[in-house]
């Protein structure tokens, strides 16, 4: 019964945290660019405004997939807060991503097609790293369950810092930050428009924003578990990671998709693999 309460509270509270994070993001980004920036609550204004807009669509299918995106992202978040299987969590994120990409494919729009194709390429880039992250957690804890991470007094960061760096790369992709704002981004790029989101408008676009808020919480949650004990250390790690992402967003230019895949594979994947090899070469002692 306790799990139900946690789940319900998460579903309700997460969007508020995510929205605030988005607001802080916009404010800090503005400051980094020497601007004043919008109010912190601006994402919520945007959200409610979008809810109140007229419904228009360019096909019925695209609307179906967007619910899949939302529901699976929430599910992934619930996996995290209920401390379930990390490996399965990655697959659930995968479903959310596929659902989003399929939404982009579901209309005859060149922009959303480009976005969807790039989203798939990004998934090709980040999926292995996330899965290897799960394997790395297994190497440390001997279990894929997130609850075991919380039981382990040593932070993951101590043993998995190469994977942590790789996960930061992934975070840039997932937060749709430069240089990986390829499939869609928070800034209007004229040649891409809004990528996958191009054909979504009004309430449906609001749903995407809502999903992104859940995603923010989920991703920072994944960063959090790198230092789950004591509870505040993870928050600091997550906050630092978040600020770092914003900084990277503002000092880098967008790259091509091919570069993104190559870069993440050659740096992120190699870091992960080296990290895992380290564990397999050394006998694991004293864990669990």
């Amino acid at each position: 019964m306790n799990a139900w309460i946690i789940a319900i509270v998460t579903v309700i509270v997460a969007p508020f945290i995510g929205g605030l994070l988005a607001g802080i993001d916009r404010r800090i980004t503005a400051r980094l660019q020497g601007r004043f920036g919008p109010p912190i609550l601006q994402p919520f204004y945007d959200f409610f405004k979008l809810l109140g807009k007229a419904k228009i669509a360019s096909s019925r299918l695209q609307l179906i997939w967007i619910y899949g995106y939302l529901v699976f992202m929430v599910t992934a978040l619930l996996f995290l807060v209920l401390k379930l299987d990390l490996l399965l969590l990655v697959f659930v994120i995968g479903f959310a991503g596929v659902s989003f990409a399929l939404g982009g494919f579901s209309s005859k729009s060149p922009y959303s097609h480009i976005g969807a194709n790039r989203e798939l390429m990004q998934m090709l880039a980040y999926e292995p790293v996330l899965l290897l992250f799960a394997l790395g957690v297994f190497a440390v804890n001997g279990s894929f369950l997130i609850s075991e991470i919380f039981n382990n007094p040593t932070p993951l960061l101590a043993r998995l810092w190469p994977i942590f760096i790789a996960v930061l790369l992934i975070l840039t992709i997932k937060l749709r930050k430069s240089p990986f704002d390829l499939a869609t981004s928070h800034h209007g790029h004229q040649e891409l428009i809004k990528g996958i989101m191009t054909e979504y408008s009004g309430p449906y676009y609001a749903l995407i924003q809502l999903t992104e808020w859940y995603e923010y919480v989920l991703l920072l949650g994944l960063v959090y578990i790198f230092w789950a004990n004591p509870w505040w250390a993870g928050l600091i790690v997550a906050a630092v990671a978040y600020i770092l992402e914003l900084l990277i967003d503002n000092i880098t230019a967008r790259m091509t998709v091919g570069w993104a895949v190559k870069f993440v594979w050659s740096v992120g994947l190699v870091l992960c693999v080296l990290n895992l090899i380290y564990f397999w070469l050394l006998p694991i002692k004293g864990v669990s």
Binding site: I64, D85, L88, F91, P110, L124, L131, G142, S143, E199
Partner: protein, 662 residues
């Protein structure tokens, strides 16, 4: 029912039905015979399940021994004939490498003795029951689906003289051969059924009799003949080194034979299985087999015949447990999984994508067998079941789509969701069930990944392959989804012969996915126990599956390593996909054209835009295929080099171990 009758129905009824469809040439008569046979086989397979583990030796064994021997040579003589008439020397050479050692073995070395020494001839254990269920149910459904498909196929191609009786002769015959193969305990019987499936494969690939079909059929023939040769060599080695009674699968895996003696024959048998399962570098025969009519691809080249290969490897898993051979088997499988998934991204033909995906998944199963823990064997067996259902469905969908758009190219399928909503919906479920939660395939893949820790390199290869898998499936699905802003597309009307198997398989996907707990408890657990006795990998609970922690890290058996909430994930799927699918509605007034910088031609469903000088130009979209970086031409040198190197290392390891033992 009497066990004699059950075995007869399983193996001989398809033969009788095959002869009947060949003689009675009417479309409707053929349909009735196929449907009746299918129903009989399905009921029969369920009876096997109810009977449980059994052994069986036919009443007048000597007669059957003679029949098998005679047919063996007939088949091999046919291969020689085929090699000569096609002027394909590879076929001829590998036919000779089979017939000469076989004749020498049976008549020169007294190999006949082995036939009598082995008792029982057939062992129907739970692993075999899993296989016969797959063969009988999925295979029968594909046969039913084929009735209409072949009619349309010939109709569309304006074929004057119907070749359908011949087609169904081989197709139905195959079901019997497959059943025989999975039940066979005696290696000589196993070899016979193995050769029958190779023969059927050759005949069916060559069915259309065009140049490409015949060439590819010949390639399939000689590659599988290498496998057959491997089987014969394994038999001879066992016969000479161990004795006549060792030509029995049950004996090999019982642990009664010294492991050092077993290593080489088991490696050869695994090699044979890998060729049948089209592992790299032998993947080309399966890719070539895609020229065959789609029921063939569905039945032989995805859900059943290629499973014979992995079945053999899984079956032999106890014989290479804890050896370096096991690790190498795992690596070959994992490498194939990765390479085939990567190559699938660049494929533009639907059936080739399916073929690569099949190769990849077979690789995963073999890798699981190589990893050889209770968990990985559970994953392998679940994969055999789920892959057969999902991939069978996918091939049937591909075939149905082929008969709607008359093309196999993925690009030609674009916007299918508007043309054929029902087929698209079924295809979507099929594709999603291949690689995403909550479906069974993902559950099995997840198990495989959790099990991969014992062989870390395999785990890394799995991870890369999973990412590639997502790309090529989603890409394909995306092409189907691409529609114009139009409403009220009519649901297409299809023949019952198409729709019934499709829907049954869809139900199967959901049923098996949801009921994975009972399926595991009632079926897979016993099958796993047939392969690997120690340790229970999974526990099923009310909500899902819990992986027990028998790992290198923790020895505490109550320690949970992973959990998979089956029911909740299905609920999530229903909420996220099915409910929106039913309830999301769009009013005609809400439709807008897509954004084309404001330059599109008026009308919400126009897909044209004004180009230079106001010329109306159609919007043309396409998928990414990475023709440069990921094409076969670019990757194949690497995949061949690495996979051949892996095979060389595999045998090198075996020879080293034997040398060390001696």
């Amino acid at each position: 029912m009497d066990y004699n009758w059950m075995m007869a129905v399983a193996i001989l009824l398809p033969v009788v039905a095959a002869i009947l469809v060949y003689i009675l040439r009417q479309y409707h008569v053929r349909g009735i015979i196929v449907v009746v046979t299918a129903i009989a086989l399905i009921i029969n397979s369920i009876l096997f399940l109810l009977k449980g583990s059994q052994t069986f030796t036919p009443a007048n064994a000597q007669l059957w021994d003679t029949v098998v021997t005679v047919l063996d040579y007939l088949i091999l003589l046919f291969y020689i004939y085929a090699g000569i008439s096609l002027k394909n020397w590879l076929v001829l050479i590998f036919a000779l490498t089979q017939i000469v050692p076989l004749a020498y073995f049976e008549f020169g070395m007294g190999g006949k003795a082995a036939l009598e020494a082995i008792n029982p001839t057939f062992v129907v254990d739970h692993l075999a029951i899993v296989m016969t269920l797959v063969i009988s149910i999925v295979g029968s459904l594909i046969c039913i689906w084929a009735i209409r498909y072949m009619y349309d196929h010939e109709h569309h191609n304006h074929i004057e003289k119907s070749r359908q009786p011949r087609f169904f002769f081989w197709l139905v015959l195959f079901l019997g051969a497959m059943n025989g193969l999975v039940f066979a305990n005696n290696l000589i019987y196993l070899y016979f059924f193995w050769e029958v499936t190779t023969l059927v494969c050759f005949q069916l690939i060559a069915h259309d009799l065009n140049k490409e079909a015949v060439n590819n059929a010949a390639r399939a023939l000689w590659m599988n003949s290498i496998g057959g040769t491997g089987l014969i060599l394994a038999m001879i080695y066992l016969f000479v080194k161990v004795g006549p009674d060792s030509l029995s699968v049950a004996k090999i895996i019982s642990g009664g034979i010294a492991p050092a003696l077993l290593l080489l024959p088991v490696a050869l048998l695994c090699f044979t299985g890998m060729i049948k399962a089209a592992q790299m570098p032998f993947q080309t025969w399966l890719l070539g087999a895609m020229v065959a009519p789609t029921p063939v691809s569905a039945l032989l080249h995805s859900s059943t015949m290629v499973k014979a290969g992995v079945y053999l490897v899984v079956r032999l898993a106890p014989a290479f447990a804890g050896t370096k051979l096991g690790i190498m088997v795992a690596l070959v499988g994992a490498f194939t999984f990765m390479a085939a998934s990567g190559l699938a991204i660049s494929q533009t033909t639907g059936k080739r994508v399916l073929a690569y995906s099949t190769i990849a998944n077979l690789g995963l199963i073999i890798a699981c067998a190589g990893i050889n823990t209770p968990l990985s064997i559970s994953a392998a067996i679940l994969l055999i079941i789920f892959h057969a259902v999902s991939k069978g469905l996918m091939f049937l969908c591909a075939g149905t789509i082929e008969h709607i758009v008359w093309s196999r190219e993925i690009e030609d399928m674009e916007g299918l969701a508007a043309k054929a909503p029902m087929t698209t919906a079924i295809t979507t479920i099929g594709v999603l069930s291949m690689f995403l939660p909550p479906f069974g395939m993902l559950l099995a893949k997840w198990l495989a990944l959790e099990a991969s820790f014992t062989i870390p390199l395999a785990g890394i290869l799995f991870v890369i392959a999973s990412a590639a898998t997502i790309v090529f499936w989603a890409k394909w699905l995306g092409r189907l989804m691409q529609v114009l802003p139009k409403l009220g597309s009519k649901i297409e009307s299809l023949s019952l012969s198409y729709t019934v198997p499709l829907w049954v398989l869809v139900l199967g996907i959901f049923g098996l996915g949801l009921g994975v707990g009972p399926v595991y408890e009632g079926l897979v657990k016993n099958a796993v126990a047939n392969v690997i006795a120690s340790g229970q990998a999974l526990t099923t609970s009310a909500t899902g599956i819990v992986v027990n922690g028998v790992t290198a890290v923790s020895s505490n058996p109550s320690f949970a390593v992973g959990s998979y909430p089956v029911w909740p994930l299905f609920v999530v799927f229903a909420v996220g996909i099915l409910i929106p699918f039913i309830f999301v509605a769009v009013k005609p007034g809400e439709l807008r054209p897509v954004y084309l910088c404001g330059e599109q031609v008026e009308g919400a469903d126009a897909d044209e835009w004004y180009s230079t000088a106001d010329a109306k130009t159609k919007v043309q979209l396409g998928g990414f295929y990475f023709k440069g970086a990921l094409s076969e031409a670019a990757l194949n040198p690497w995949t061949y080099t690495l996979s051949i190197a892996l095979l060389v290392i595999l045998f090198g390891v075996v020879f080293l171990a034997i040398g060390g033992a001696i």
